[in-house]
C-alpha cells in the first residue's frame, strides 16, 4: 500500500497518536531522544527486507537487496546489534555485515566476504562512511546517538519540532550542523538537512512513506540526496516485522559464515 507523505502524515495526525499539549513542554534534548527512539528502537527487535536503489547524477541506477536484522541489547538509546545480509546482486549474495552499536564508544563492525571466505573486523574511527556504496552512512542506518550533538529547538509548528543540532566533536564529522523536522505525533524525523561550514545544505534525508506496522509508525521509504552531485539513494523497507524474537547468538561472528534461517 503506497501513500504519499502528506496523506500519511494527515492520517497520523487525525489518529492523534500523541498528545500535542504535553509535547510542547519537551526540551530539545528530550525531542532528540524521542526521535532517536522512534526511529531506531521500535520494539525489542526487528527484521526488514530492504531494496536499495542508488541513482547517480547521470540517472544510472544500481539496485541492491538486503535483509537487516536488529536486536536491542537493553533500554532505548542503548546498545544494539545489527546483521546485514546481501541477497542481490548475485555476485555479492551472502556477503554480510555485523554491527555492534555502542552509543558511547566506537561501534564494532565485522564483514564477511563469501567469495574469499573471509571475516574481517572493520576498524573505523567514525560511522560516517558510506553504507555499502549508497548515499546513506552507516550511522544513518544504525542511528546517531543523540548525546553526540548539542540540540536546539528552533521552531515548533503545528506538525513539527524543528531541531538544530551541532556536533560536540566537530573534528569527527563532515557536517557543521543539521536541521531535523520531527513529526510531533510520531516523533519520526521526516526530513534532515545537513549543512556545511558555509551554511549550505549538501545532504538531505527525506522520509517518503510511513506505515504503521504492529502499532509502530515505521518509515518504509526514505531517500538520501547528495545535493552536491544530485545523486540519491532510496531505501524501501518491505516485510517489516517487529518482535520476531531474534536470539543474541545470531549477532556473532559465527553466523556471518553460516547465515541464520532468519535471513534465508
Amino acid at each position: 500500500m503506497k501513500r504519499t507523505l502528506l496523506s500519511t502524515l494527515l492520517l497520523l495526525g487525525v489518529a492523534g497518536l500523541a498528545g500535542p499539549l504535553a509535547a510542547e513542554e519537551l526540551t530539545a534534548d528530550e525531542v532528540a531522544d524521542r526521535a532517536a527512539a522512534s526511529s531506531y528502537y521500535q520494539g525489542e527487535d526487528g527484521r526488514a527486507e530492504v531494496t536499495m536503489t542508488i541513482t547517480d547524477r547521470q540517472g544510472r541506477e544500481r539496485k541492491r537487496e538486503l535483509i537487516i536484522l536488529r536486536r536491542d541489547m537493553g533500554a532505548d538509546l542503548g546498545k544494539q546489534r545489527f546483521y546485514v545480509f546481501f541477497l542481490d546482486p548475485a555476485d555479492v549474495r551472502r556477503t554480510a555485515f555485523l554491527v555492534w552499536k555502542n552509543p558511547t564508544a566506537d561501534d564494532d563492525r565485522w564483514l564477511y566476504l563469501p567469495a574469499l571466505d573471509l571475516v574481517r573486523r572493520i576498524a573505523a574511527s567514525d560511522e560516517r562512511t558510506s553504507f555499502v556504496g549508497s548515499d546513506f552512512f552507516y550511522e544513518d542506518v544504525s542511528g546517531r546517538a543523540p548525546e553526540e550533538d548539542e540540540h536546539e529547538l528552533v521552531e515548533v509548528t503545528d506538525t513539527y519540532y524543528v531541531l538544530r543540532s551541532t556536533p560536540k566533536d566537530p573534528g569527527n564529522v563532515e557536517f557543521a550542523s543539521y536541521t531535523t523536522y520531527i513529526h510531533k505525533d510520531t516523533f519520526l524525523p521526516v526530513q534532515t538537512e545537513y549543512r556545511d561550514s558555509n551554511g549550505e545544505v549538501y545532504r538531505t534525508y527525506t522520509v517518503e512513506e510511513v506505515e504503521t506496522i504492529d502499532g509502530h509508525p515505521t518509515v518504509v521509504r526514505s531517500r538520501m540526496t547528495d545535493e552536491e552531485s544530485g545523486g540519491f539513494t532510496v531505501l524501501e523497507y518491505e516485510d517489516v516485522e517487529y518482535g520476531v524474537d531474534l536470539g543474541e547468538d545470531l549477532f556473532t561472528e559465527r553466523y556471518l559464515r553460516n547465515p541464520p534461517a532468519e535471513v534465508q
Binding site: 555476485d91 573486523r121 573505523a124 562512511t129 553504507f131 556545511d196 552531485s229
Partner: protein, 792 residues
C-alpha cells in the same frame, strides 16, 4: 573609379561622418551589453573563450565523446596544487607544512565551484590498512594536522603504501605532495586559484614550503587574462610605432594621421562586428586587431607614397588624389581581394576559432580598403592646400621616378644577373623542400607561456617529481555488463599498464585493477604477495563492495561504469605535447593488436591532452586545403587582373617562394608547427601577393612609358619599389610589439611576420625583376623588336 574618388573629394564630410558613425555605432552596440549586462536586450555581450575544447566544433564526435565519457566516469577538470620543499630530507612532511596543507584543503572545500567531495588530498582520502589481526581499517588518512614529526612521517608512510596515490598524490621520493581540486567548470579556475593563492600567502614563510598551481584549466584561464594584456598593450604599441614610421617617411603630421584613423576605424568596425554577431574573443580572434592594423596601413602607405611622390608635380591635392587613385586603383583592389581570399580561405579549416579569425580578418581587409579609397581622399580634401605647401619628394620633376640608393643597386643586379638570382631561388626552394619534410607537427597549450612564467615553472618542477600532470583517459568498452569484474580482464589491464608504463612516455596509469588489488591486499593481511587480482568475479565484486564502505565509495565509478561494462584507464603524462600523446595512442593500439584482450574491447580516448591532438590533426589537414584553395583563387584573380596567364603565374612566384622558405626554415630550426605557425601561411600569401601585384602592375605601367624593359627597370625601382620597401618596413616594425607580448604564440607570430616580410620583399624585388628580364620577350610583346634584346 573616378566617381569613387570624387565621392571622397566632393562630399568629404559625408564619407568621414558615415564611417565614424558606423564605427561609433558598432562600438556602442558591443560595449553596452558588455558593460551593462543588466539592461538585457537581444545583443550579446563580449565573451572571452580560452577553452581549448572550443578548437573543435560543439558537435565534433571526438569532443562529444570526451564530454560523454567525462560524465560517464564523473570526471572533472582539476586545479593541481604542488607542494614542494626542495633541498630537505623530510620534504613537506613536517607538522607545520602538513598543517598548512590541511588548512589549504579546508579553504578549497569552502570555495564556490569546487567539487568538494572529489578533492584528492591527504586529509580527504581514506587510508586502507591493517588494524591488527583479522582487522582492516578505512580511516581518513590525515583526519587532523599532525602534531609531531612522527605523526607527519606516518602520513608519508601511509600515502606511499597506497599504490593509487604514489606518484600522483605523493612524489615517489616521499618529499612532495600534489593536491587535486576538481572544479565545476573551467572558467572558474582563475578565481579559485586566486583564492587559494590568498590562503597560501597567509602562511608566510614559516614552513619553508613552495606552492605551485597548475593544471590545464588554470593555464587556459590565465591565458585569457594575458590575451587582454596583448590586446591592450601590443596593439596600441603597434599603432604608435607605425605612426612614428609613417611620420618619418611622409613628414606631414596631419596627413600621416589619416592612415592611423583608417586603421583604427577598421579595427573598431571589425571587432565590433565580431562581438555584435556573438562571436567570442578567443586566442585566435584576439589577434585580429594586430593583423588588421598593418594590413589596413598597407594600402594607405601605397597611397601616401604615391601622393607624396606626385604632389610636387601637380601642387593640387584634388588632382594628385585622382592621379594617385588612377594608378593604384587596380593594384589596391586586387591586393585587398587576394589578402581577403588568403584569410577567407581559413573558413575551410574545420576549426571554429580559426574560421572566425579568417572570416573577420577578411572582413577587416575589405573595410580597410573601402576606407582607404574613400576616407583618405575625403580627409585630404578637408586639408587646406596651403598646409601642403612645399610637401612631397624634394626633387626636380622627372627625377622622382628614378631609383636611388639600395634600390638602385637592386635594379642593376636584377637586370644584369637574372640567371644567378633565379638559380639561387631554385636552390633555396630545394632546401626549403628538405626543411618542410622535417616539420614537426606539435602543440602544447602550457608551452604558450614563456619558459619563466610561473605556470611553465610549476609544470617543469612538478613533472620532474611526480608521475605527470597531464591527464588522458582511455575508455574501454566491453560487450556486456560485469565484464570488468572478470579477473582475467583485470589482469590483462594491469599487464597492459605495465607495458605502457615501461615505454617512457607514460608516468603512471590507473585502473579498476589497481583499486581491487590494493583492497584485496589489505583484506588478506597486507602482504605484497596478495597484491593481485582475486580469483573469481564474485571475489572482485565483494572486494569492490568493501571499498564502497569507505568515505569515498564513488572513487570506484571514476574507473568503471556502475554496470562494470566500461572502464576508464587513467594516464598521467609528463608532457602535454601532442606528439607524446600521439605516441601513447600508438603504443596502446600496438599493444591491443599484439595482445588480444580476453574479451572484445572497444578503445576510445578522451581527456584534454587527447583533445589537443584531435584538433591539431584537423588543423594541419584543414590548413593545407585552405592554402591550396586560396592559391587557386588568387591565381585566377591574378590571371584576370593581368589578363595574362604568364603574368598571373609570375604574381604567384613571391608567395610560393615565401611560404616554402618560411616553412622550410621552421623545419630546419625545429620549431614546432603549431596553431600560430599554421595560420601564418595565409598571412604570407596575403602579404607576398600584395607586393607582387604592386610590383608587376607598376612594371607594366612603367614599361609602357619607356622604350624597353631595360629602360624601365630604373623607374620600376623608383616610386613603386620605394612604396614596397616602405611597406616592408612599416608592417615589419608594426608587428614588432608582438615580441613583447607575454604569450609565446604572439611572439611566434611577431618573429615569423618579420621573416615573411623579408622573404616576400626579397622575392618581389629580386626574383620578379630577374624573371621579367629573362622572360621580357614573352612578358612584354613590344620587346620582340630586335633592337631591344634582353641582356643577361
Amino acid at each position: 573609379m573616378k566617381s569613387v574618388a570624387d565621392l571622397g573629394l566632393k562630399r568629404p564630410w559625408f564619407v568621414i561622418g558615415f564611417s565614424s558613425l558606423l564605427a561609433l555605432l558598432l562600438l556602442v552596440l558591443a560595449a553596452v551589453p558588455t558593460l551593462f549586462p543588466q539592461l538585457g536586450g537581444p545583443l550579446p555581450a563580449l565573451r572571452v573563450d580560452t577553452d581549448p575544447e572550443n578548437m573543435l566544433a560543439a558537435d565534433e564526435p571526438a569532443r562529444v565523446f570526451h564530454r560523454e565519457a567525462k560524465d560517464r566516469f564523473d570526471l572533472h577538470d582539476q586545479i593541481v596544487v604542488g607542494v614542494l620543499r626542495p633541498g630537505t630530507e623530510e620534504g613537506v612532511f613536517t607538522p607545520e607544512v602538513l598543517t598548512h596543507v590541511y588548512e589549504l584543503v579546508e579553504t578549497a572545500e569552502s570555495l564556490d565551484g569546487v567539487v568538494r567531495s572529489k578533492i584528492l588530498a591527504p586529509s580527504t582520502v581514506d587510508n586502507i590498512e591493517q588494524a591488527g589481526v583479522g582487522a582492516v581499517s578505512f580511516n581518513w588518512l590525515m583526519p587532523a594536522p599532525p602534531q609531531t614529526q612522527a605523526e607527519a612521517d606516518a602520513v608519508r608512510e601511509k600515502l606511499l603504501n597506497l599504490p593509487m596515490f604514489e606518484g600522483s598524490l605523493i612524489a615517489p621520493d616521499g618529499r612532495s605532495l600534489l593536491l587535486y581540486i576538481p572544479i565545476e567548470s573551467k572558467d572558474m579556475s582563475h578565481r579559485i586559484s586566486q583564492e587559494l593563492l590568498a590562503k597560501i600567502d597567509s602562511f608566510g614563510d614559516s614552513g619553508g614550503e613552495e606552492y605551485h598551481i597548475t593544471g590545464l584549466p588554470v593555464a587556459n584561464d590565465t591565458f585569457g587574462v594575458q590575451m587582454f594584456i596583448q590586446m591592450a598593450i601590443s596593439a596600441p604599441m603597434a599603432m604608435v610605432l607605425i605612426f612614428v614610421l609613417l611620420l618619418l617617411f611622409f613628414k606631414k603630421f596631419r596627413l600621416v594621421l589619416s592612415p592611423m584613423i583608417v586603421a583604427l576605424l577598421s579595427v573598431i568596425i571589425t571587432m565590433g562586428l565580431l562581438v555584435v554577431t556573438g562571436n567570442t574573443i578567443h586566442i585566435m580572434s584576439s589577434m585580429i586587431p594586430i593583423f588588421i592594423m598593418p594590413i589596413a596601413v598597407l594600402d594607405s602607405v601605397h597611397f601616401l607614397s604615391e601622393f607624396y611622390d606626385r604632389y610636387p608635380q601637380y601642387r593640387d591635392r584634388g588632382k594628385t588624389v585622382r592621379e594617385t587613385l588612377k594608378s593604384l586603383w587596380r593594384p589596391m583592389l586586387f591586393t585587398s581581394l587576394t589578402t581577403a581570399a588568403g584569410f577567407g580561405s581559413l573558413v575551410l579549416a574545420p576549426i571554429p576559432p580559426v574560421q572566425v579569425f579568417g572570416l573577420f580578418v577578411a572582413i577587416g581587409v575589405i573595410v580597410a580598403w573601402l576606407l582607404t579609397i574613400l576616407f583618405i581622399p575625403a580627409y585630404i580634401a578637408l586639408m587646406k592646400e596651403s598646409s601642403l605647401e612645399g610637401y612631397g619628394l624634394r626633387q626636380e620633376a622627372g627625377e622622382g621616378e628614378e631609383a636611388r640608393g639600395l634600390l638602385r643597386v637592386l635594379s642593376r643586379v636584377t637586370y644584369r644577373r637574372p640567371r644567378t638570382i633565379v638559380a639561387v631561388a631554385v636552390v633555396l626552394l630545394g632546401l626549403a623542400a628538405v626543411g618542410i619534410l622535417r616539420i614537426q607537427i606539435n602543440d602544447n597549450p602550457v608551452k604558450w607561456f614563456e619558459p619563466d612564467h610561473r605556470i611553465r615553472v610549476a609544470d617543469q618542477l612538478l613533472n620532474e617529481r611526480f608521475a605527470g600532470t597531464y591527464p588522458a583517459y582511455l575508455n574501454l568498452r566491453a560487450e556486456e555488463a560485469d565484464a570488468f569484474k572478470d579477473p582475467e580482464l583485470l589482469r590483462y589491464l594491469r599487464e597492459m599498464q605495465d607495458s605502457l608504463e615501461a615505454s617512457g612516455n607514460v608516468g603512471k596509469t590507473q585502473s579498476i585493477t589497481d583499486l581491487v588489488q590494493t583492497v584485496y591486499r589489505e583484506l588478506l593481511g597486507g602482504g605484497e604477495e596478495y597484491f593481485r587480482v582475486p580469483d573469481s568475479s564474485a571475489a572482485v565484486a565483494q572486494t569492490v563492495l568493501t571499498y564502497e564502505s569507505s568515505h569515498r565509495p564513488d572513487d570506484v565509478y571514476h574507473l568503471v561504469t556502475p554496470d562494470f561494462s566500461e572502464a576508464a584507464l587513467w594516464f598521467q603524462l609528463k608532457s602535454g605535447d601532442n606528439q607524446d600523446m600521439l605516441e601513447v595512442v600508438g603504443e596502446v593500439e600496438d599493444y591491443l593488436a599484439a595482445n588480444p584482450p580476453p574479451q572484445a574491447l572497444q578503445p576510445e580516448w578522451f581527456g584534454l591532452t587527447y583533445i589537443n591532438v584531435v584538433w591539431q590533426d584537423k588543423m594541419v589537414a584543414g590548413m593545407l586545403s585552405a592554402l591550396l584553395s586560396a592559391f587557386v583563387v588568387v591565381l585566377v584573380l591574378m590571371v584576370v587582373l593581368f589578363r595574362s596567364f604568364l603574368w598571373g603565374l609570375l604574381a604567384m612566384v613571391p608567395l610560393t617562394v615565401t611560404i616554402a622558405v618560411i616553412y622550410g626554415i621552421i623545419g630546419f630550426i625545429g620549431k614546432d608547427y603549431d596553431m600560430p605557425v599554421a595560420v601564418l601561411s595565409s598571412l604570407s600569401l596575403g602579404l607576398a601577393v600584395d607586393y607582387a601585384i604592386h610590383f608587376l602592375a607598376r612594371s607594366r605601367q612603367k614599361r609602357e612609358k619607356h622604350a624597353s624593359w631595360g629602360a624601365s627597370v630604373d623607374a620600376v625601382f623608383g616610386e613603386p619599389a620605394r612604396a614596397i620597401a616602405r611597406n616592408i618596413i612599416v608592417v615589419g616594425v608594426g608587428f614588432l610589439p608582438l615580441l613583447l607580448a607575454p604569450l609565446v604564440p604572439y611572439q611566434t607570430v611577431g618573429y615569423l611576420i618579420s621573416s615573411i616580410l623579408v622573404v616576400a620583399g626579397a622575392a618581389t624585388l629580386l626574383l620578379l625583376p630577374a624573371l621579367l628580364t629573362l622572360l621580357a620577350r614573352r612578358a612584354f610583346p613590344a620587346e620582340r623588336s630586335p633592337s631591344n634584346p634582353p641582356s643577361s
